[in-house]
């Protein structure tokens, strides 16, 4: 085996530290259903907050689907995440109305405060930033969401306040 190939294998082995019990339970639930890949992946994401690589290999093995194919599905749908995500997901609307009203500055403010841009997560796994197309609240543009809470007519100053509020929370 070449050195590189061996490294790749070791890399995969390192990833297998994750407790696969939850993933196995999800797979058990859907294993006999035709077209089970999507619900399995959604279930795994619900259990782990993202899709750990080891669970992909587990699903590949148990569902008899190639890992490459699962990876294709995971990268096709925006709903799946391959890296751990923060406890609080900050969605910054970049739709037309928000864009006109200065959504770019809001994004910059988050980078400044948390050091994270689109699809990035803080090291403490507390925040993830996501720039989204439109969240359907153009009337209160610019708008951000933190998990399920919506903050409209937001400014750079208000963004800082919102972040501080969540920082203080667990």
């Amino acid at each position: 085996m070449t050195e590189n190939v061996q490294q790749a294998e070791e890399q995969v082995e390192e990833l297998e530290e994750i407790d696969l019990t939850a993933a196995n339970e999800v797979i058990d639930k859907y294993i006999d259903i035709h077209g089970n890949l999507m619900p399995v992946l959604q279930g795994i994401q619900e259990a782990y907050g993202y899709i750990p690589e080891a669970t992909v290999h587990l699903a590949a093995e148990r569902l008899n689907v190639y890992a490459s194919q699962i990876y294709g599905v995971l990268t096709f749908y925006a709903q799946f995440h391959l890296k751990p995500r923060g406890k609080y997901i900050i969605r910054v609307c970049m739709g037309t109305a928000c864009h006109v009203k200065g959504a770019g500055r809001i994004g910059d403010a988050i980078v400044e405060r948390l050091g994270i841009s689109h699809a990035e997560t803080t090291e403490d796994l507390k925040f993830t930033a996501e720039y989204v197309a439109c969240i359907g609240a153009c009337g209160m543009a610019p708008v951000i969401m933190v998990n399920d809470a919506t903050y409209g007519s937001i400014t750079v100053q208000k963004t800082a306040e919102v972040i501080e509020k969540y920082k203080a929370m667990d």
């Binding site: 790749a8 992909v56 008899n64 890992a67 194919q69 990876y71 294709g72 990268t75 096709f76 391959l82």
Partner: protein
């Protein structure tokens, strides 16, 4: 049949044809990028658009549209050309046009189409792809900047190979072909994707910057590795095999190859090839002339006479084997054999006793149409990878149920819906007996004209699935299901491989398998078959020509025994390296030391180092002749290059030897084949010059058994040992010659001892750690390889490597009790 008109031409074609296929059959050209004969229709590239009068208003993709009665098709018009040109413009927006340094230049479909449609300027502009090239593995380079997203690599790796390396990832403009998690490619390196890529996105690395395609001379010949008999097309330049070319129109393999066939050619160009005869003088092997060497040998052979032992490899051509047989009869010796441990006895003794034949009963293309397939031993994919792909196609295209009687998991177990019937090592016969028992007990047997049914029924009383399952750790329900499927299937196949690492119980396993084949009616039924596949390129030819001990003659193992005791004065090894590959290395060495040894080979092998005379031989790429593959297909080899130095083909060497023995020999392989058609049953009527690209199958597509006798064979008690070693083949190698080839060696360079995860934890061993195995007072050591295909307590080691000395503890057993420990 359906009638339609294409470009004004009246055409009649099969109902299942697409417009593209109908056009192609009739010599009408339609350009394609994503179409491939062996893959399911896909319709990704839109280059093949045509006009259909009945479907006006839009252009129709000809590669996915089935023909219908009365269809009127136009393949070229201003409108069509405009659209095709636009498609090319789109593709060229992102494609890096680095044709001067692209190895595909000259045979690139995109380049050819761009030229054909005169895409001189591009109306569209956009970013060029700037993706890193995947150079992680040594054999296959992927440059995704050249990719046109035809998906052929994705599809062939799934539909044909069953490995699934690739997928489309991301979406829209970002879409590209990638492996799981977009890592470097790490697969079985069969290179099917290389052969399918219409552009320079996937290329063979060893061929980089070696030659332009038009500089290569293409020579169709037969692969020299396993008994599958794949046609390989040598790409020759400067008297060297530069690469193996892709040709999906020839051979039984439709252009499919494995890592050995596609990348294992470099040994023929190797600088360490023997180029001159060597004679031992003053204790050392020194270069000598051919005449001196042949005179010395002829004298020794004549003096030994009936006490000469001849052991041949199974990679000699039929014509060479015929001459070797002539040599043995000229000298009056019956000590003639072709493989260690007489592993071929499944054919010569087993099938011969039950069915009166010594060959597989069906052909590979029939397996593709089977509904149920039973593979005995999981190593079948490793020994015959391209046959494994045929099995995969049967599963995908025909919904075949594959069951594998296995002591470890392997590639076959991973194929869709494969059922792995796990059992303790060395107990294959128990499992096959249990299948037979179910078929008889449930009244599923096709008992017409079977002899010995009563005796077999009685003998199988102890082999109910429950008893066997308990004894060998198997699943009784799975056995029953498999038995019912095999008995009920319209077409079914039973496949088993034999070879040097599988010498134990070879006769008994074959008898058990033929009992099953007879009870299910598989043997001799059109479309079904029992396949006993030899390890080497011409294993079947060696059986057909009876390169086996004559009356009172010794087999290979007995010859070595006898020589070790000083009772066989002269040994002649042709293309065999028993020191590395035969069971019981200690015995082999002693035998070679004690006898006057003549070795004829490509390299100064470990065995040749013991020789008194060494003759330099020619590889399969340097000779004409025929091989007979594991399905009885006789195919022609064609010389592509000249042998290095003074090396000669075995044919020429045997001719000279026969002359020295005052015998005549046929002048050329064609003449020799003519003679052997008169001597070998089944070969009669086959004309050398008329053997076409698909070969000639002797005995017909389905070989009928000459008799149908059921013979009870006893199973084996599982070995009682905490750790048990299995010896076998690794996918990347075949025999020992592949260990001299850069391709296989770059992905599997050294011996290893494979452990399951549980045992690795117990022994505190990780991949790469050195471990040792102790058996009967002998220890061998190697790097460990840990994975999840071995059950607890089972250890595996491949037999190809000289360095491991595996045959110091392997003496022909089916399973060896060992004590492993970390070093």
């Amino acid at each position: 049949m359906v009638n339609l008109t294409i470009d004004g031409k009246q055409i009649t074609t099969a109902k299942t044809s697409t417009i593209y296929e109908a056009a192609k059959e009739n010599g009408i050209y339609i350009p394609v990028l994503c179409y491939a004969k062996k893959l399911l229709p896909y319709g990704a590239c839109r280059i093949c658009l045509v006009e259909v009068e009945q479907m006006k208003g839009r252009l129709i993709p000809s590669c996915t549209t089935p023909v219908t009665e009365g269809m009127v098709v136009t393949t070229t018009s201003d409108e069509i050309n405009k659209v095709r040109k636009t498609v090319l413009e789109f593709l060229l927006v992102n494609h890096v046009v680095d044709c001067p340094v692209c190895d595909k230049g000259g045979e690139c479909d995109l380049q050819d189409l761009t030229y054909e449609y005169e895409v001189v300027t591009n109306r569209f502009q956009g970013e060029k792809f700037d993706l890193p090239t995947d150079e992680v593995n040594p054999l296959i380079e992927r440059n995704m900047n050249r990719c046109v997203l035809c998906g052929k690599c994705v599809r062939v790796c799934d539909e044909v190979v069953g490995y699934g390396s690739y997928s489309f990832i991301n979406r829209g403009f970002e879409t590209k072909i990638a492996t799981a998690f977009d890592r470097g490619l790490n697969c079985e390196f069969c290179g099917q994707c290389v052969s399918m890529c219409p552009v320079g996105a996937i290329l063979p690395r060893p061929f980089k910057f070696k030659a332009r395609p038009w500089q290569l001379k293409d020579v169709d010949t037969v692969c020299g590795y396993c008994g599958n008999g794949c046609t390989v097309t040598l790409g020759v330049k400067d008297n060297q095999v530069q690469t193996i070319r892709f040709n999906e129109d020839t051979g039984v393999n439709h252009g499919n190859l494995c890592v050995r066939g596609r990348f294992g050619y470099s040994y023929v160009n190797d600088a360490t090839r023997l180029t001159k005869p060597l004679i031992r003088k003053g204790g050392e092997l020194r270069e000598a002339s051919w005449d001196e060497a042949l005179v010395t040998i002829a004298e020794k052979f004549k003096a030994a006479g009936k006490d000469l032992g001849i052991i041949s490899g199974a990679r000699l051509t039929n014509e060479e084997l015929l001459l070797l047989k002539r040599i043995s009869s000229a000298l009056g010796t019956h000590h003639l054999d072709h493989s260690g441990g007489e592993c071929y006895q499944g054919l010569t003794a087993g099938l011969n006793e039950t069915m009166g034949i010594s060959a597989s009963t069906g052909t590979f293309p029939q397996v593709e149409k089977c509904n149920a397939i039973l593979a005995i031993r999981s190593d079948f994919y490793e020994t015959h990878p391209v046959f494994g792909m045929v099995i995969n196609q049967a599963i995908r295209l025909n919904d075949a149920q594959l069951s594998v009687i296995a002591d470890k998991r392997g590639k076959l177990s991973k194929l869709p819906n494969a059922r792995t019937l796990m059992h303790k090592p060395g107990c294959e016969i128990n499992m096959i007996n249990a299948l037979c028992q179910v078929i008889i007990a449930e009244g599923l047997a096709k008992t017409d004209d079977l002899q010995g049914l009563a005796e077999l029924t009685k003998a199988l009383a102890d082999y109910t699935p429950e008893t066997v399952a308990k004894m060998v750790g198997a699943d009784a329900e799975a056995i029953k299901k498999t038995a019912r499927e095999l008995a009920g299937a319209k077409n079914a196949a039973i496949v088993v491989a034999y070879g040097l690492p599988y010498t134990a119980h070879s006769k008994e396993i074959a008898i058990a398998a033929s009992n099953l084949a007879l009870l299910t009616g598989i043997a001799g039924r059109e479309g079904s078959g029992l396949y006993l596949c030899g390890e080497k390129a011409n294993s079947q030819g060696a059986i057909d020509l009876q390169i086996t001990p004559g009356p009172a003659g010794l087999g290979a193992q007995q010859m070595l025994n006898s020589a070790a005791e000083g009772r066989l004065p002269v040994l002649y090894l042709v293309g065999e390296d028993p020191v590395v590959t035969y069971p019981d290395q200690g015995l082999v060495k002693k035998a070679l030391e004690k006898s006057f040894l003549v070795v004829q080979d490509l390299f100064l092998t470990d065995s040749a180092k013991y020789a008194d005379v060494v003759l330099p031989a020619a590889s399969f790429t340097e000779k004409d002749g025929t091989f007979t593959n594991a399905e009885r297909r006789i195919q022609r080899l064609r010389a592509g290059i000249k042998s290095p130095g003074e090396a000669k083909s075995d044919f020429v060497v045997f001719q000279s030897l026969l002359n020295k023995l005052q015998k005549t020999a046929p002048a050329a392989p064609a003449a020799a084949f003519g003679e052997l058609t008169g001597e070998v049953a089944g070969y009669a009527g086959i004309v050398y010059e008329q053997i076409g690209p698909q070969g000639e199958v002797w005995g017909g597509e389905t070989l009928a058994p000459l008799k149908k006798v059921l013979i009870p064979v006893a199973g084996n008690e599982p070995l009682q040992a905490e750790y048990q070693l299995l010896v076998g083949s690794a996918l990347y190698h075949s025999g020992s010659v592949s260990t001299r080839s850069k391709g296989p060696m770059s992905v599997c360079p050294e011996p290893y001892i494979e452990l399951g995860r549980d045992d690795a934890v117990t022994l505190n061993v990780k991949t790469g750690d050195m471990i040792q195995l102790k058996a009967a007072g002998v220890t061998i050591q190697s790097k460990a390889k840990v994975d999840n295909r071995l059950p607890k307590g089972v250890i595996f080691a491949p037999y190809h490597f000289a360095g491991l000395g595996l045959n110091r503890i392997y003496t022909g057993q089916s399973v060896i009790a060992v004590e492993p420990s970390k070093l």
